[in-house]
Protein backbone atom coordinates (compact mmCIF):
# COMPACT_ATOMS: atom_id res chain seq x y z
CA UNK A 1 0.00 0.00 0.00
CA UNK A 2 1.46 3.30 -1.05
CA UNK A 3 2.49 5.49 1.87
CA UNK A 4 0.71 8.84 2.25
CA UNK A 5 3.96 10.73 1.62
CA UNK A 6 4.68 8.86 -1.58
CA UNK A 7 1.14 9.36 -2.73
CA UNK A 8 1.34 13.09 -2.04
CA UNK A 9 4.62 13.35 -3.95
CA UNK A 10 3.25 11.44 -6.88
CA UNK A 11 0.08 13.54 -6.95
CA UNK A 12 2.09 16.74 -6.87
CA UNK A 13 4.23 15.52 -9.74
CA UNK A 14 1.17 14.57 -11.74
CA UNK A 15 -0.42 17.94 -11.09
CA UNK A 16 2.79 19.69 -11.97
CA UNK A 17 3.00 17.79 -15.21
CA UNK A 18 -0.59 18.55 -16.10
CA UNK A 19 -0.21 22.21 -15.31
CA UNK A 20 2.97 22.56 -17.29
CA UNK A 21 1.78 20.78 -20.41
CA UNK A 22 0.62 23.37 -22.87
CA UNK A 23 -3.10 23.42 -22.46
CA UNK A 24 -4.66 22.92 -25.87
CA UNK A 25 -7.89 24.70 -24.99
CA UNK A 26 -8.16 27.98 -23.18
CA UNK A 27 -11.22 28.32 -20.91
CA UNK A 28 -11.27 32.03 -21.66
CA UNK A 29 -11.29 31.63 -25.43
CA UNK A 30 -15.04 31.91 -25.63
CA UNK A 31 -15.11 34.86 -23.26
CA UNK A 32 -12.33 36.50 -25.23
CA UNK A 33 -14.41 36.32 -28.40
CA UNK A 34 -17.47 37.59 -26.57
CA UNK A 35 -15.52 40.50 -25.17
CA UNK A 36 -14.31 41.43 -28.67
CA UNK A 37 -17.93 41.74 -29.71
CA UNK A 38 -18.68 43.75 -26.60
CA UNK A 39 -15.69 46.01 -27.27
CA UNK A 40 -17.10 46.84 -30.69
CA UNK A 41 -20.41 47.78 -29.08
CA UNK A 42 -18.52 49.81 -26.46
CA UNK A 43 -16.71 51.79 -29.19
CA UNK A 44 -19.98 52.38 -30.99
CA UNK A 45 -21.72 53.77 -27.90
CA UNK A 46 -18.81 56.00 -26.94
CA UNK A 47 -20.91 58.75 -25.40
CA UNK A 48 -22.79 56.36 -23.16
CA UNK A 49 -19.65 54.64 -21.95
CA UNK A 50 -17.68 57.86 -21.48
CA UNK A 51 -20.43 59.01 -19.15
CA UNK A 52 -20.51 55.67 -17.34
CA UNK A 53 -16.73 55.72 -16.93
CA UNK A 54 -17.12 58.87 -14.85
CA UNK A 55 -19.91 57.67 -12.62
CA UNK A 56 -22.91 55.43 -12.33
CA UNK A 57 -26.48 56.58 -11.65
CA UNK A 58 -28.59 53.46 -11.69
CA UNK A 59 -32.25 53.96 -10.77
CA UNK A 60 -32.58 50.33 -9.73
CA UNK A 61 -31.02 48.08 -7.19
CA UNK A 62 -31.85 44.47 -7.96
CA UNK A 63 -31.28 41.60 -5.56
CA UNK A 64 -31.33 38.28 -7.38
CA UNK A 65 -30.30 34.69 -6.89
CA UNK A 66 -26.87 33.50 -8.02
CA UNK A 67 -28.60 30.82 -10.11
CA UNK A 68 -27.11 30.77 -13.62
CA UNK A 69 -30.56 30.86 -15.19
CA UNK A 70 -31.73 34.13 -13.66
CA UNK A 71 -29.25 36.89 -14.40
CA UNK A 72 -31.50 39.95 -13.97
CA UNK A 73 -29.68 42.09 -16.53
CA UNK A 74 -30.27 39.41 -19.18
CA UNK A 75 -33.80 38.56 -18.15
CA UNK A 76 -34.94 42.18 -17.87
CA UNK A 77 -32.94 43.42 -20.86
CA UNK A 78 -31.10 45.96 -18.71
CA UNK A 79 -28.26 47.98 -20.16
CA UNK A 80 -25.02 48.64 -18.32
CA UNK A 81 -25.52 51.49 -15.92
CA UNK A 82 -29.19 50.79 -15.24
CA UNK A 83 -29.10 48.48 -12.25
CA UNK A 84 -26.85 47.94 -9.25
CA UNK A 85 -27.09 44.20 -8.69
CA UNK A 86 -26.52 42.10 -5.58
CA UNK A 87 -26.62 38.32 -6.05
CA UNK A 88 -26.46 35.54 -3.49
CA UNK A 89 -28.14 32.17 -2.93
CA UNK A 90 -31.93 32.69 -2.95
CA UNK A 91 -31.64 36.52 -3.06
CA UNK A 92 -31.78 36.74 0.73
CA UNK A 93 -31.46 39.84 2.87
CA UNK A 94 -30.96 39.25 6.59
CA UNK A 95 -32.65 41.65 9.04
CA UNK A 96 -30.79 44.70 10.29
CA UNK A 97 -28.41 43.79 13.06
CA UNK A 98 -25.08 45.26 13.99
CA UNK A 99 -24.05 41.87 15.27
CA UNK A 100 -24.58 39.92 12.08
CA UNK A 101 -21.61 38.16 10.55
CA UNK A 102 -20.53 39.30 7.16
CA UNK A 103 -22.35 42.31 5.92
CA UNK A 104 -22.37 41.81 2.18
CA UNK A 105 -26.10 42.50 1.76
CA UNK A 106 -26.33 45.36 4.22
CA UNK A 107 -23.29 47.17 2.80
CA UNK A 108 -24.57 46.84 -0.77
CA UNK A 109 -28.01 48.21 0.14
CA UNK A 110 -26.48 51.02 2.16
CA UNK A 111 -24.24 51.98 -0.76
CA UNK A 112 -27.07 51.80 -3.28
CA UNK A 113 -29.53 53.84 -1.22
CA UNK A 114 -27.29 56.38 0.52
CA UNK A 115 -24.62 56.95 -2.13
CA UNK A 116 -26.09 55.99 -5.48
CA UNK A 117 -29.57 57.14 -4.42
CA UNK A 118 -31.40 54.39 -6.27
CA UNK A 119 -35.15 54.93 -6.49
CA UNK A 120 -36.23 51.31 -6.60
CA UNK A 121 -35.16 48.08 -4.96
CA UNK A 122 -36.43 44.86 -6.48
CA UNK A 123 -35.93 41.43 -4.95
CA UNK A 124 -36.36 38.65 -7.51
CA UNK A 125 -37.17 35.09 -6.56
CA UNK A 126 -37.42 32.36 -9.18
CA UNK A 127 -38.85 28.96 -10.00
CA UNK A 128 -36.99 25.81 -8.98
CA UNK A 129 -34.72 27.64 -6.56
CA UNK A 130 -32.22 25.14 -5.14
CA UNK A 131 -31.63 27.21 -2.02
CA UNK A 132 -35.31 27.33 -1.10
CA UNK A 133 -35.66 23.61 -1.84
CA UNK A 134 -32.82 22.93 0.58
CA UNK A 135 -34.62 25.10 3.16
CA UNK A 136 -37.87 23.18 2.79
CA UNK A 137 -36.09 19.85 3.14
CA UNK A 138 -34.14 20.81 6.24
CA UNK A 139 -35.06 18.77 9.30
CA UNK A 140 -35.60 20.71 12.52
CA UNK A 141 -33.09 18.60 14.43
CA UNK A 142 -30.45 19.19 11.75
CA UNK A 143 -30.07 15.45 11.24
CA UNK A 144 -29.88 15.75 7.45
CA UNK A 145 -27.35 18.55 7.38
CA UNK A 146 -25.33 18.33 4.19
CA UNK A 147 -23.15 21.42 4.06
CA UNK A 148 -20.75 23.58 5.98
CA UNK A 149 -22.24 26.97 5.05
CA UNK A 150 -25.30 26.56 2.86
CA UNK A 151 -27.83 25.70 5.57
CA UNK A 152 -26.62 28.51 7.82
CA UNK A 153 -27.14 30.97 4.98
CA UNK A 154 -30.52 29.68 3.86
CA UNK A 155 -31.79 29.66 7.47
CA UNK A 156 -32.34 33.40 7.01
CA UNK A 157 -35.53 32.41 5.16
CA UNK A 158 -36.78 30.02 7.87
CA UNK A 159 -39.80 32.23 8.74
CA UNK A 160 -40.84 32.08 5.06
CA UNK A 161 -40.70 28.30 5.15
CA UNK A 162 -43.06 28.28 8.14
CA UNK A 163 -45.50 30.65 6.45
CA UNK A 164 -45.50 28.63 3.24
CA UNK A 165 -46.00 25.32 5.06
CA UNK A 166 -48.98 26.83 6.88
CA UNK A 167 -50.45 28.30 3.70
CA UNK A 168 -50.16 25.38 1.29
CA UNK A 169 -52.35 22.29 1.90
CA UNK A 170 -50.28 19.29 3.05
CA UNK A 171 -51.38 17.10 0.17
CA UNK A 172 -50.42 19.60 -2.53
CA UNK A 173 -47.61 18.74 -4.93
CA UNK A 174 -44.16 19.83 -3.73
CA UNK A 175 -43.90 22.32 -6.62
CA UNK A 176 -46.75 24.37 -5.09
CA UNK A 177 -45.07 24.57 -1.70
CA UNK A 178 -41.77 25.38 -3.41
CA UNK A 179 -43.27 28.27 -5.41
CA UNK A 180 -45.11 29.64 -2.38
CA UNK A 181 -41.96 29.50 -0.26
CA UNK A 182 -39.91 31.37 -2.87
CA UNK A 183 -42.50 34.17 -2.94
CA UNK A 184 -42.75 34.29 0.87
CA UNK A 185 -38.96 34.42 1.03
CA UNK A 186 -38.99 37.43 -1.31
CA UNK A 187 -41.55 39.10 0.97
CA UNK A 188 -39.47 38.27 4.03
CA UNK A 189 -36.35 39.76 2.44
CA UNK A 190 -38.34 42.87 1.50
CA UNK A 191 -39.48 43.28 5.11
CA UNK A 192 -35.90 42.69 6.27
CA UNK A 193 -34.78 45.43 3.86
CA UNK A 194 -37.20 47.78 5.54
CA UNK A 195 -35.61 47.06 8.90
CA UNK A 196 -32.61 49.14 7.78
CA UNK A 197 -33.15 52.78 8.76
CA UNK A 198 -31.47 53.97 5.57
CA UNK A 199 -34.19 52.10 3.63
CA UNK A 200 -37.15 52.87 5.86
CA UNK A 201 -36.66 56.64 5.90
CA UNK A 202 -36.62 57.25 2.12
CA UNK A 203 -39.48 54.75 1.72
CA UNK A 204 -41.63 56.72 4.11
CA UNK A 205 -40.78 59.90 2.24
CA UNK A 206 -41.79 58.32 -1.05
CA UNK A 207 -38.22 58.49 -2.42
CA UNK A 208 -37.68 54.74 -2.56
CA UNK A 209 -40.04 51.97 -3.67
CA UNK A 210 -39.58 48.30 -2.82
CA UNK A 211 -40.72 45.66 -5.28
CA UNK A 212 -40.97 41.90 -5.12
CA UNK A 213 -40.72 39.73 -8.22
CA UNK A 214 -40.98 36.11 -9.24
CA UNK A 215 -39.35 34.86 -12.43
CA UNK A 216 -40.91 31.62 -13.60
CA UNK A 217 -38.67 30.18 -16.30
CA UNK A 218 -40.70 26.99 -16.43
CA UNK A 219 -43.87 28.71 -17.60
CA UNK A 220 -42.29 31.86 -19.03
CA UNK A 221 -43.67 34.53 -16.71
CA UNK A 222 -42.37 37.43 -14.65
CA UNK A 223 -44.61 38.72 -11.85
CA UNK A 224 -43.97 41.91 -9.91
CA UNK A 225 -45.55 43.46 -6.85
CA UNK A 226 -44.91 46.47 -4.63
CA UNK A 227 -44.36 46.69 -0.93
CA UNK A 228 -46.37 49.62 0.26
CA UNK A 229 -45.29 51.59 3.27
CA UNK A 230 -46.97 54.79 4.15
CA UNK A 231 -47.30 56.74 7.36
CA UNK A 232 -50.68 58.43 7.22
CA UNK A 233 -51.26 61.97 8.36
CA UNK A 234 -51.54 62.23 12.10
CA UNK A 235 -55.03 62.66 13.41
CA UNK A 236 -55.96 64.03 16.76
CA UNK A 237 -58.22 61.83 18.78
Amino acid sequence: MESVDNMQERKLEELSLEANVACPVDPFEKMRKAFEEFKAYFKKEKELFDALAQSQHPKWMIIACSDSRVDPALVLGLELGEAFILRNIASLIPPHSKQSGHKSGASAIEYAVEHLKVEHIMIVGHSRCGGIKALLEMKEDGSNRFSEYIEDWIQIAQPASEIAKAKVPHDSPFEELWTCCVKESVNLSLRNCMSYPFVKIPMEKGLLTLHGAYFDFVNGAFDVWKLKCKIDEHQSL
Binding site: L15, A19, V25, K43, N88, S104, E110, Y111, E148, F217
Partner: protein, 301 residues
Protein backbone atom coordinates in the same frame (compact mmCIF):
# COMPACT_ATOMS: atom_id res chain seq x y z
CA UNK B 1 -5.17 13.77 -0.56
CA UNK B 2 -6.89 15.30 2.43
CA UNK B 3 -3.54 15.56 4.19
CA UNK B 4 -2.15 17.46 1.23
CA UNK B 5 -5.14 19.76 1.06
CA UNK B 6 -4.75 20.70 4.69
CA UNK B 7 -1.04 21.19 4.54
CA UNK B 8 -1.03 24.31 2.39
CA UNK B 9 0.55 27.29 3.99
CA UNK B 10 -1.94 30.08 4.31
CA UNK B 11 0.21 32.55 6.10
CA UNK B 12 0.87 35.98 4.75
CA UNK B 13 2.44 36.04 1.34
CA UNK B 14 3.25 38.43 -1.39
CA UNK B 15 1.44 38.46 -4.67
CA UNK B 16 3.05 39.91 -7.73
CA UNK B 17 2.97 43.64 -7.64
CA UNK B 18 0.04 44.91 -9.61
CA UNK B 19 2.11 47.78 -10.88
CA UNK B 20 1.86 49.44 -14.24
CA UNK B 21 0.51 47.07 -16.81
CA UNK B 22 0.39 43.35 -16.75
CA UNK B 23 1.04 40.77 -14.14
CA UNK B 24 4.43 39.17 -14.49
CA UNK B 25 4.77 35.46 -14.94
CA UNK B 26 7.33 35.26 -12.19
CA UNK B 27 7.09 36.59 -8.75
CA UNK B 28 9.52 39.09 -7.42
CA UNK B 29 9.45 37.59 -3.98
CA UNK B 30 10.90 34.31 -2.96
CA UNK B 31 7.86 33.26 -0.99
CA UNK B 32 5.32 33.70 -3.76
CA UNK B 33 3.04 30.71 -3.78
CA UNK B 34 1.30 31.54 -7.01
CA UNK B 35 2.50 32.03 -10.51
CA UNK B 36 0.33 34.40 -12.36
CA UNK B 37 0.40 34.86 -16.06
CA UNK B 38 -1.61 37.62 -17.59
CA UNK B 39 -3.31 37.69 -20.88
CA UNK B 40 -4.84 40.84 -22.08
CA UNK B 41 -7.67 40.83 -24.55
CA UNK B 42 -5.97 42.66 -27.33
CA UNK B 43 -8.40 44.82 -29.20
CA UNK B 44 -5.86 45.57 -31.87
CA UNK B 45 -5.77 42.06 -33.19
CA UNK B 46 -8.13 41.57 -36.07
CA UNK B 47 -10.76 39.24 -34.82
CA UNK B 48 -13.55 37.67 -36.76
CA UNK B 49 -16.51 37.71 -34.46
CA UNK B 50 -18.14 34.35 -34.47
CA UNK B 51 -21.83 34.55 -33.81
CA UNK B 52 -21.75 30.93 -32.81
CA UNK B 53 -19.33 31.90 -30.08
CA UNK B 54 -21.23 29.77 -27.65
CA UNK B 55 -20.27 26.56 -29.38
CA UNK B 56 -16.92 26.52 -27.71
CA UNK B 57 -15.08 23.25 -27.83
CA UNK B 58 -13.46 23.91 -24.49
CA UNK B 59 -16.80 23.86 -22.80
CA UNK B 60 -17.98 20.85 -24.76
CA UNK B 61 -14.98 19.04 -23.46
CA UNK B 62 -15.55 20.20 -19.94
CA UNK B 63 -19.24 19.92 -19.70
CA UNK B 64 -21.38 17.38 -21.45
CA UNK B 65 -24.52 19.47 -20.90
CA UNK B 66 -23.00 21.67 -23.45
CA UNK B 67 -23.70 25.03 -24.65
CA UNK B 68 -26.35 25.91 -26.89
CA UNK B 69 -26.74 28.20 -29.82
CA UNK B 70 -28.07 31.06 -27.81
CA UNK B 71 -28.65 34.02 -30.00
CA UNK B 72 -26.17 36.81 -29.58
CA UNK B 73 -27.54 39.83 -27.88
CA UNK B 74 -27.93 42.77 -30.15
CA UNK B 75 -26.71 45.53 -27.89
CA UNK B 76 -27.11 48.29 -30.43
CA UNK B 77 -30.82 47.70 -30.69
CA UNK B 78 -31.16 47.66 -26.91
CA UNK B 79 -29.55 51.05 -26.53
CA UNK B 80 -32.09 52.67 -28.86
CA UNK B 81 -34.79 50.96 -26.87
CA UNK B 82 -33.47 52.56 -23.70
CA UNK B 83 -33.44 55.97 -25.33
CA UNK B 84 -37.10 55.78 -26.23
CA UNK B 85 -38.10 54.17 -22.93
CA UNK B 86 -36.56 56.86 -20.82
CA UNK B 87 -39.80 58.78 -20.41
CA UNK B 88 -41.93 55.76 -19.51
CA UNK B 89 -42.47 54.36 -16.04
CA UNK B 90 -39.67 52.27 -14.48
CA UNK B 91 -41.79 49.11 -14.49
CA UNK B 92 -42.69 49.64 -18.14
CA UNK B 93 -38.99 49.71 -18.88
CA UNK B 94 -38.52 46.31 -17.18
CA UNK B 95 -41.55 44.90 -18.97
CA UNK B 96 -40.16 45.88 -22.37
CA UNK B 97 -36.83 44.35 -21.48
CA UNK B 98 -38.39 41.13 -20.23
CA UNK B 99 -40.60 40.67 -23.29
CA UNK B 100 -37.58 41.08 -25.60
CA UNK B 101 -35.65 38.51 -23.55
CA UNK B 102 -38.57 36.09 -23.62
CA UNK B 103 -38.97 36.46 -27.39
CA UNK B 104 -35.36 35.39 -27.92
CA UNK B 105 -35.27 32.79 -25.18
CA UNK B 106 -38.24 30.73 -26.32
CA UNK B 107 -36.69 30.30 -29.77
CA UNK B 108 -34.44 27.64 -28.27
CA UNK B 109 -36.86 25.14 -26.78
CA UNK B 110 -34.08 22.65 -26.06
CA UNK B 111 -32.37 25.22 -23.89
CA UNK B 112 -35.61 26.22 -22.20
CA UNK B 113 -36.52 22.63 -21.28
CA UNK B 114 -33.04 21.68 -20.14
CA UNK B 115 -32.69 24.76 -17.94
CA UNK B 116 -36.16 24.19 -16.47
CA UNK B 117 -34.88 20.86 -15.17
CA UNK B 118 -31.60 22.06 -13.75
CA UNK B 119 -28.44 24.08 -14.16
CA UNK B 120 -24.92 22.92 -14.87
CA UNK B 121 -22.91 26.09 -15.32
CA UNK B 122 -19.22 25.60 -16.08
CA UNK B 123 -18.35 28.94 -14.47
CA UNK B 124 -18.79 30.62 -11.14
CA UNK B 125 -18.14 34.36 -11.36
CA UNK B 126 -17.65 36.64 -8.38
CA UNK B 127 -18.20 40.22 -9.51
CA UNK B 128 -19.01 43.64 -8.11
CA UNK B 129 -22.57 44.99 -7.79
CA UNK B 130 -21.52 48.02 -9.87
CA UNK B 131 -24.15 48.69 -12.55
CA UNK B 132 -21.46 49.04 -15.20
CA UNK B 133 -19.93 45.58 -14.86
CA UNK B 134 -22.62 42.94 -15.21
CA UNK B 135 -20.47 39.92 -16.14
CA UNK B 136 -23.12 38.23 -18.29
CA UNK B 137 -23.44 41.39 -20.35
CA UNK B 138 -19.73 42.16 -20.68
CA UNK B 139 -18.77 38.56 -21.43
CA UNK B 140 -21.99 37.68 -23.31
CA UNK B 141 -22.84 34.71 -21.11
CA UNK B 142 -26.29 33.28 -21.85
CA UNK B 143 -28.63 31.74 -19.25
CA UNK B 144 -27.18 28.62 -17.71
CA UNK B 145 -23.56 29.53 -18.23
CA UNK B 146 -22.44 31.20 -15.04
CA UNK B 147 -23.40 31.00 -11.37
CA UNK B 148 -22.84 34.55 -10.20
CA UNK B 149 -22.13 36.00 -6.77
CA UNK B 150 -22.10 39.81 -6.62
CA UNK B 151 -21.21 42.03 -3.69
CA UNK B 152 -19.53 45.40 -3.37
CA UNK B 153 -15.88 45.11 -4.33
CA UNK B 154 -16.13 41.46 -5.51
CA UNK B 155 -14.65 40.40 -2.18
CA UNK B 156 -14.31 36.93 -0.72
CA UNK B 157 -13.77 36.65 3.04
CA UNK B 158 -11.26 34.15 4.36
CA UNK B 159 -12.49 30.74 5.47
CA UNK B 160 -13.77 30.55 8.99
CA UNK B 161 -14.59 27.33 10.76
CA UNK B 162 -17.31 29.10 12.69
CA UNK B 163 -20.44 29.61 10.68
CA UNK B 164 -20.72 33.29 9.92
CA UNK B 165 -23.85 33.41 7.82
CA UNK B 166 -21.70 34.14 4.82
CA UNK B 167 -23.21 34.71 1.41
CA UNK B 168 -19.84 34.19 -0.30
CA UNK B 169 -18.91 30.99 1.55
CA UNK B 170 -22.32 29.40 0.92
CA UNK B 171 -22.31 30.37 -2.75
CA UNK B 172 -18.78 29.04 -3.31
CA UNK B 173 -19.59 25.82 -1.47
CA UNK B 174 -22.74 25.31 -3.55
CA UNK B 175 -20.99 26.09 -6.83
CA UNK B 176 -17.93 23.95 -6.18
CA UNK B 177 -19.45 20.92 -4.44
CA UNK B 178 -22.99 20.78 -5.82
CA UNK B 179 -22.94 22.44 -9.22
CA UNK B 180 -19.36 21.26 -9.74
CA UNK B 181 -18.30 24.32 -11.67
CA UNK B 182 -15.01 23.94 -13.53
CA UNK B 183 -13.84 27.53 -13.31
CA UNK B 184 -14.09 30.07 -10.56
CA UNK B 185 -13.47 33.62 -11.71
CA UNK B 186 -13.07 36.68 -9.52
CA UNK B 187 -13.66 39.76 -11.65
CA UNK B 188 -12.55 43.19 -10.53
CA UNK B 189 -13.08 46.46 -12.37
CA UNK B 190 -11.96 50.03 -12.82
CA UNK B 191 -13.29 52.91 -10.72
CA UNK B 192 -14.57 50.59 -8.02
CA UNK B 193 -16.31 52.57 -5.28
CA UNK B 194 -15.80 49.84 -2.69
CA UNK B 195 -12.05 49.74 -3.31
CA UNK B 196 -11.90 53.52 -3.21
CA UNK B 197 -13.72 53.42 0.13
CA UNK B 198 -11.24 50.79 1.40
CA UNK B 199 -8.25 52.85 0.31
CA UNK B 200 -9.72 55.97 1.92
CA UNK B 201 -10.21 54.51 5.40
CA UNK B 202 -7.96 56.19 7.98
CA UNK B 203 -6.08 53.80 10.26
CA UNK B 204 -7.82 55.19 13.33
CA UNK B 205 -11.25 54.96 11.68
CA UNK B 206 -11.77 58.65 12.27
CA UNK B 207 -13.39 59.27 8.90
CA UNK B 208 -15.99 56.52 9.15
CA UNK B 209 -18.98 57.40 6.98
CA UNK B 210 -21.25 54.38 6.98
CA UNK B 211 -22.92 51.77 9.14
CA UNK B 212 -21.85 48.69 7.17
CA UNK B 213 -19.67 49.62 4.19
CA UNK B 214 -16.36 50.00 6.02
CA UNK B 215 -16.87 46.75 7.97
CA UNK B 216 -17.44 44.92 4.72
CA UNK B 217 -14.55 46.31 2.70
CA UNK B 218 -12.12 45.93 5.60
CA UNK B 219 -12.24 42.15 5.17
CA UNK B 220 -9.55 42.80 2.56
CA UNK B 221 -7.64 45.49 4.42
CA UNK B 222 -4.40 43.61 3.74
CA UNK B 223 -4.82 44.39 0.07
CA UNK B 224 -4.95 48.13 0.71
CA UNK B 225 -2.06 47.98 3.20
CA UNK B 226 0.08 46.21 0.65
CA UNK B 227 -0.75 48.66 -2.14
CA UNK B 228 -0.07 51.67 0.08
CA UNK B 229 3.33 50.29 1.05
CA UNK B 230 4.36 49.42 -2.51
CA UNK B 231 2.95 52.52 -4.19
CA UNK B 232 3.67 55.05 -1.46
CA UNK B 233 4.17 58.03 -3.75
CA UNK B 234 1.69 57.22 -6.50
CA UNK B 235 -1.39 59.43 -6.90
CA UNK B 236 -4.48 58.14 -5.10
CA UNK B 237 -6.23 57.15 -8.36
CA UNK B 238 -3.28 54.96 -9.37
CA UNK B 239 -3.17 53.39 -5.94
CA UNK B 240 -6.87 52.56 -6.30
CA UNK B 241 -6.27 50.88 -9.65
CA UNK B 242 -3.51 48.79 -8.13
CA UNK B 243 -5.79 47.93 -5.22
CA UNK B 244 -8.61 46.88 -7.56
CA UNK B 245 -6.31 44.17 -8.93
CA UNK B 246 -4.86 43.35 -5.52
CA UNK B 247 -8.39 42.80 -4.21
CA UNK B 248 -8.97 40.24 -6.97
CA UNK B 249 -5.82 38.40 -5.97
CA UNK B 250 -6.66 38.61 -2.28
CA UNK B 251 -10.14 37.23 -2.97
CA UNK B 252 -8.65 34.38 -5.03
CA UNK B 253 -6.30 33.65 -2.19
CA UNK B 254 -9.21 33.63 0.25
CA UNK B 255 -11.06 31.22 -2.07
CA UNK B 256 -8.08 28.91 -1.67
CA UNK B 257 -8.52 29.04 2.09
CA UNK B 258 -11.71 26.96 1.76
CA UNK B 259 -10.82 23.28 2.04
CA UNK B 260 -13.39 22.24 -0.55
CA UNK B 261 -11.86 24.67 -3.07
CA UNK B 262 -8.36 23.34 -2.45
CA UNK B 263 -9.53 19.75 -2.78
CA UNK B 264 -11.18 20.38 -6.12
CA UNK B 265 -8.16 22.27 -7.39
CA UNK B 266 -5.82 19.54 -6.27
CA UNK B 267 -7.89 16.92 -8.06
CA UNK B 268 -7.84 19.03 -11.22
CA UNK B 269 -11.58 19.61 -11.21
CA UNK B 270 -11.44 23.34 -10.58
CA UNK B 271 -9.31 26.22 -11.87
CA UNK B 272 -9.19 29.65 -10.33
CA UNK B 273 -8.95 32.76 -12.51
CA UNK B 274 -8.66 36.46 -11.95
CA UNK B 275 -10.19 39.03 -14.27
CA UNK B 276 -10.10 42.81 -14.50
CA UNK B 277 -12.56 44.78 -16.58
CA UNK B 278 -11.39 48.27 -17.36
CA UNK B 279 -14.32 50.26 -18.73
CA UNK B 280 -12.23 53.40 -19.00
CA UNK B 281 -9.86 51.98 -21.59
CA UNK B 282 -12.22 49.23 -22.80
CA UNK B 283 -10.00 46.27 -21.95
CA UNK B 284 -10.26 42.98 -20.11
CA UNK B 285 -7.32 41.18 -18.51
CA UNK B 286 -7.46 37.64 -17.25
CA UNK B 287 -5.04 35.41 -15.43
CA UNK B 288 -5.04 31.88 -14.07
CA UNK B 289 -3.64 30.37 -10.92
CA UNK B 290 -0.96 27.85 -11.80
CA UNK B 291 -1.10 24.75 -9.65
CA UNK B 292 2.48 23.72 -10.19
CA UNK B 293 3.47 26.36 -7.67
CA UNK B 294 2.05 24.12 -4.95
CA UNK B 295 5.44 22.43 -5.02
CA UNK B 296 6.92 25.53 -3.45
CA UNK B 297 4.34 25.93 -0.73
CA UNK B 298 5.58 25.36 2.77
CA UNK B 299 3.91 22.50 4.48
CA UNK B 300 2.31 23.47 7.75
CA UNK B 301 1.92 20.70 10.32
Amino acid sequence: MAALANSLSLSCFDLPSSGAASFGAHSQTARLPMQVSAQAFDGQKKTVVDNNAFKDKTLEGLNSLSIHNAESRTPAASVSAVATEVQTSPLERLKTGYLKFKENYVKDQNLVSSLAEGQAPPYMIIACCDSRVDPCTVLNLPPGEAFVLRNIGNMVPVYSAQSACSSAASAIEYAVLHLKVKHLVVMGHSRCGAVKALMGIEDDGSNRFSEFIEDWVLILKNASKKVKSIHKVAPFAEQCTACEKEVVNASLWNCLSYPFVREKMASGDLTLHGGYYDFVSNAFESWTLDLSCLNDVDKVQ
